[in-house]
Symmetry: C2
Subunit: 192 residues, 2 copies
């Protein structure tokens, strides 16, 4: 009987594709096994268990997004960079909703540190170099940007904007304008 040619990597990639098609929470060992036409138990040589499978998909997604982000940021600064990174995340989420959801998984500290997560913070921090912010405001701004990007994308993906005007495209553009303006005129502590 010919083999399916499973490896941890191919299992993870297939899981990621299934996540995009079916939703991240539908990705289970049995679904992946069916996809390969293989017995469920066969997966357990490549992936420790269901949780491990999901974590691997999350790590893959974080990596892919970081790679895209880095490419988009190359040679850009200021508002251009802000838009480039924001669009990277948003486009990725729309192309790969399951992977994007995976990337939001809570990872344990050690795994998170070894993941592409820190690259993401570094990219946002790099963007802020184009604005006139010093610590600790830089950290506050990173947290705001990360939250705003993720929050907006989550709402859009969740269909929150499906039945109202204006379209999400328009809002996104204006929100990036607004965030850029905010970063250029970040309020001082204790100011009116």
């Amino acid at each position: 009987m010919p083999r399916a040619g499973l490896t941890a990597d191919r299992v993870t990639r297939a899981g990621a594709e299934l996540a995009d098609e079916l939703g991240f929470d539908q990705v289970t060992p049995s679904v992946v096994a069916r996809h390969f036409g293989v017995q469920v138990a066969s997966l357990y040589s490549h992936v420790r268990n269901a949780e491990d499978l999901r974590v691997r998909i999350a790590l893959l997604a974080l990596e892919e997004m970081a790679d895209r982000g880095a490419a988009a940021l190359a040679g850009r600064a200021g508002k251009d960079a802000l838009i480039a990174l924001g669009d990277t995340y948003r486009d990725y989420a729309r192309e790969h909703p399951g992977r994007y959801a995976a990337a939001q998984m809570r990872l344990d500290h050690e795994t998170a540190l070894a993941s592409a997560g820190p690259r993401h913070s570094a990219m946002i921090r790099a963007i802020l170099r184009g604005y006139d912010l010093t610590e600790p405001d830089q950290t506050h701004a990173i947290r705001l940007l990360g939250g705003a990007f993720h929050g907006y994308i989550t709402q859009e993906l969740g269909g929150s904007f499906d039945h109202s005007e204006p379209g999400p495209e328009k809002s996104w553009g204006r929100i990036l304008d607004a965030l850029d303006a905010l970063l250029r005129h970040w309020p001082h502590e204790g100011q009116p």
Copy 2:
């Protein structure tokens, strides 16, 4: 044999408490049944299925948050109102992480319309009356605020800030300052 006294409402409330203790995705009919010392099948008279149980918890959470938000907003305007609503969400999420996670569930359109969801948009819109925004910027601002609140809270709850300075309390305060400043000086379309 004495009865446990189940009703759809008590099942939902117990599910919500279990969500806060164990995490929303751990809330299943079997866990709830064990909590009541009852056979799993007994739940099915009160709740249609596992999905229905989760949706009910989500609706409860949305309602509770809207109630708290409305109370917090009473008699406040402008930045005070912004802080009040933001704190409402954040405090709720920290007190009831499982319920908060439930509230982020994607609901189908009809259910969403009948939920307390619209009350939340209305509250944010009410806050914006304290600022000088007209449509469509008002809608953009609602989407930004909703996303920023949710995104920040998700990050904080997910432990993203656990190993860095400054503390989440500090960042939250400064981010509210920043959002207030942004709403007061919302950039016009096509402005530098």
